[in-house]
Amino acid sequence: MEETLTTPFWIVFISSMAAVLIALCGRAPNLREAIIFLAAICKLALLSTLTSGVLDGKLYTFTLINLLPNVGLSFKVDGAGLLFAFVSVTLWIPVTIYSIGLLRPKKDLSQTRFYACFSIAISSAVGVAFSANLLTMFIFYEILSLSTYPLVTHNQDDEAIKGGRKYLTYLLTTSVGLALPAMIIVYQHTGSLDFTGGGVFNDKTSNTLLTILVVMFLFGFAKAGLMPFHAWLPGAMVAPAPVSSLLHAVAVVKVGVFSIIRITTGIFGVDLLANTPSLTTIICVIAAITLITASLIALTQDNLKARLAYSTIGQLSYIILGVGLASASGIAGAMLHIPMHAVGKITLFLCAGAIYEACGAKYISQMNGIGRKIPFTFTAFFLGSLCVIGLPPTGGFISKWHLLNGTLDSIQQWTFAIFLISSFLNAAYFIPIVFKGFFSAPSDEKVYNKASEPSMLMVAPMLITATGCLLVFFFSNFLYQFVEQFLNVYAKTN
């Protein structure tokens, strides 16, 4: 059932409009931040008006303008899009509170630019979530890359400029050099770029072409962090904590994997993948290599944010691996891993920022013992790491459960082992931080003495998202309804 409705358009653009207002209200910080909350609440309210319809199996569509024959700037809201939009917008609120707590006391003069770019980034993330075709998705994907550049280079020092250069080089080179030609080849062959349940290809398309296209798309959307195009993510860690947490754990990187989910299910089609083992093998092998390598690199990192970045790269590959299984439960697990990993990783990044604010410690080796001085922050960190490792009672358990189920339904059963190994590695690089933080003797006296909980505006959002890690476990059934609706459309026969 499709229904035309302008609401998706407003949901996408409301925060872009907010960005204009934010830029105009630079002199009045209270008003400026009020606008952000207002925009976030409006967005959430509009999203919830669509919820019941989508769960009943409706698809809301809206075409703003036709850009090419058969291809418009169009939106289509389904379960997956709505779920992803909910995740990005909901997490936007605690991160904004945290940003206020972080930036205001520093009297940072680029705050207005920061909030304005942030709003545009959220707009484009939701735009990707609601895109009805590949071109619309590509447009929002590029806007997201450009709007987050000022956020990465926020500090405007040499390190930030270097990180920003790496960031744009990787993201633009791959999207222009691989994803764009792949998209044009698809359009040239099929005359359509719409995401549809059965995919756009017909039986005549040769296997070689499909293989080339899969590889081009996988690496073309480099926001998904597949190796060897992952180095932008550790480089982007020069950004302030709220940027790393919302954008580089939720919005930006998830846009990358979400795009890949959309392409594999909507352009290639689950049936085509399931019947073409060579394609799923390629996806699974690339993802598995990235997954294990990233986890191993994460073990060696002493810089907390770098360790988190590599952990993110690994976790993103979980999602791609789940899609590569081309089975219903694998895709369900991949979709569920988006919100589960999002709450977990955002908590960890917020904690990393808070630890730095609390005692100036960037390196894990400095953090022994400080858990006792900042218990709230470290408890939140503990819950976040449980969620990322995938232990109950946190959300990560649910998505990994589905992923493991998916491996058994698929022909790529060897991936079962990859998931297990990786979970051990996850535990190996997170648990020692928490353990030493609470129970070891202080390693760095200066840091230890300085440590004290940061302001409430920073602690509260962490505790909110940490609680979120537990809530997504208990309400995972509700989240699964969205995924089920998505599966009904895209993986019906499987």
Binding site: L68, L109, S110, F138, I161, L168, V176, L180, P181, Q188
Partner: protein, 506 residues
């Protein structure tokens, strides 16, 4: 009145040029309003005629000068001078006249400063150049096309030589190449005339594809005409004159010439290729086709690689033109539907992009006096609107959606994929990436290099935009880059698709 619209398009600026020089004897200040008036009439008529085409059943609007050529006065229809507007040149006419008008408004202040006391000559030549360019686009006769080509060329030699320093030499180089190109073109027209006995484009389009498919002389004419057009548009390897000519010219001349002169030559090439000779004819000689495609690829790469070695924003812009010419020639010679669509669309899009780029450079020169990339640090804080416009223009040149540059690239790549010309695809992508590198360099210098002046301890930079008469045209053109992009589908289905000839399926 309405049936005289086509001739008003050229008469406006032509008479504007004449009256501007006459009235300026009486009062020099009058020359500028006279020119603006002429250009406004021209732009208005062009836009009206485009709408007339879009909303009527007509495919082409013919106009016979003085009624000669109509059946009453001349039953064979070969004596009169004919001008005609169809879907292909309607768009070009509207683009050229509108950009001409905006550039005229834009150039007042900059001419006042750079060419003090010579404004009246400048504006007469300016108007004459625009009428030459419009004439090339509107004429229905290949000999008159040559005449208008020379009108445009002669006035542009003078406009370039107005600059200081090396501009004389640059203009002389351009004169040599331009004259050579025009001669070859004329020679080619001679070959065609000898065999066909007519110069009228419509008649030729009947005669050549039907009866003279295998004539050696007509083929030589085709090659000569093409080489002539390529010399005029600075297509590799005939591009050497362009960077110096456009970068040593006065900023106002550059802002007019850079976007329009080369693009109109591309139009002339397209007209000869698809109307006079037909796509069949082009496809008949695959070795020439593949050579031209290879040259387009080289042109794109040469333009891009030279642009990245330049340290001056104006030189960078000039090398961009060379690479963009490669896009258009390549797209046209792919000789399939998406390729031609991309080439025609890119003529309009690139005219707007280059115009925006040169206007922005004009604004920067007006306020800072130079365009060395290194000295532009903190430009964002000094001229925020100009800087944002520069970023949007660069994004369009790179091909970031939803600007128009993205869609032309989309069609061109689609055409190249369809034709299997992979080196052209790769060249297009490399050129995008090189432009992206230059954009980052600009952002790093203009935006990141100087920390926010509002921070304590930094020297303050006062905000000082270019005067409104320069800034407003710049912003209009920049905004149009996004609008053209958003209305791509309308533009393509209503005009460009209809301008395409029948393309033989392979």
């Amino acid at each position: 009145m309405i049936e005289h619209l086509p001739i008003l398009i050229i008469l406006g600026p032509l008479l504007g040029a004449v009256f501007a020089s006459l009235t300026s004897w009486y009062r020099p200040k009058l020359s500028f309003p006279v020119v603006i008036f002429g250009l406004a009439i021209s732009s208005l008529s062009a836009i009206l005629i485009v709408f007339k085409l879009a909303f009527s059943e007509l495919d082409v609007i013919h106009y016979q000068l003085g009624g000669w050529g109509t059946p009453e006065k001349d039953e064979y229809g070969i004596v009169g001078i004919q001008i005609s507007v169809d879907y292909l040149n309607g768009l070009i006419l509207a683009t050229v006249s509108t950009i001409g008008l905006l550039t005229a408004v834009f150039s007042t202040r900059s001419v006042e400063r750079e060419l003090t006391g010579q404004q009246r000559y400048f504006f007469s030549l300016f108007s004459l150049l625009v009428s030459g360019l419009l004439g090339i686009s509107i004429t229905g006769d290949i000999f008159n096309l040559y005449v208008f080509m020379e009108i445009a060329a002669l006035s542009s030699y003078a406009l370039i030589a107005y600059g200081k320093g090396r501009s004389y030499m640059a203009s002389f180089n351009y004169l040599m190449m331009g004259t050579m190109g025009a001669c070859l073109y004329l020679l080619g027209v001679g070959f065609v005339f000898v065999k066909t006995g007519t110069l009228n484009i419509e008649n030729l389009s009947q005669i050549i594809p039907q009866t003279l498919q295998n004539s050696q002389a007509v083929f030589v004419g085709f090659v000569l005409i093409m080489i002539g057009a390529w010399a005029k548009m600075a297509f590799f390897p005939l591009h050497g004159w362009l960077p110096n000519a456009y970068s040593y010219a006065p900023t106002a001349s550059g802002a007019l010439l850079a976007p329009l002169a080369t693009k109109v030559s591309v139009y002339a090439m397209l007209r000869i290729m698809i109307t006079v000779y037909s796509i069949d004819y082009v496809l008949k000689s695959p070795s020439i086709q593949s050579t031209v495609l290879l040259l387009s690829t080289i042109s794109i790469l040469v333009g891009s690689f030279f642009s990245i070695t330049q340290s001056n924003l104006r030189k960078i812009a000039c090398y961009f033109i060379i690479s963009e010419i490669g896009y258009m020639v390549g797209g046209a010679w792919l000789a399939n539907e998406p390729g031609l669509k991309g080439a025609i669309y890119h003529v309009v899009a690139d005219a707007a992009m280059t115009s925006a780029f040169f206007m922005i450079i004009g604004c920067i020169v007006y306020r800072t006096g130079q365009t060395e990339l290194k000295k532009l640090d903190g430009l964002f804080y000094k001229m925020p609107l100009t800087f944002v416009a520069l970023i949007i223009t660069m994004a369009a040149l790179i091909g970031v959606p939803p600007t128009c540059g993205f869609f032309s690239k989309f069609y061109l790549i689609q055409g190249a994929v369809q034709a299997g010309t992979w080196h052209f695809v790769i060249a297009l992508l490399i050129s995008s990436l090189i432009k992206a590198i230059i954009l980052f360099r600009i952002i790093e210098i203009g935006y990141n290099k100087v920390p926010n002046p509002a921070k304590e301890g930094n020297k303050t930079i006062t905000r000082e935009e270019a005067p409104l008469s320069m800034l407003i045209p710049t912003l209009i053109v920049t905004l149009s880059l996004i609008l053209i992009g958003l209305f791509t589908d309308k533009l393509v289905t209503n005009f460009i698709a209809k301008a395409l000839p029948e393309i033989p399926s392979l």
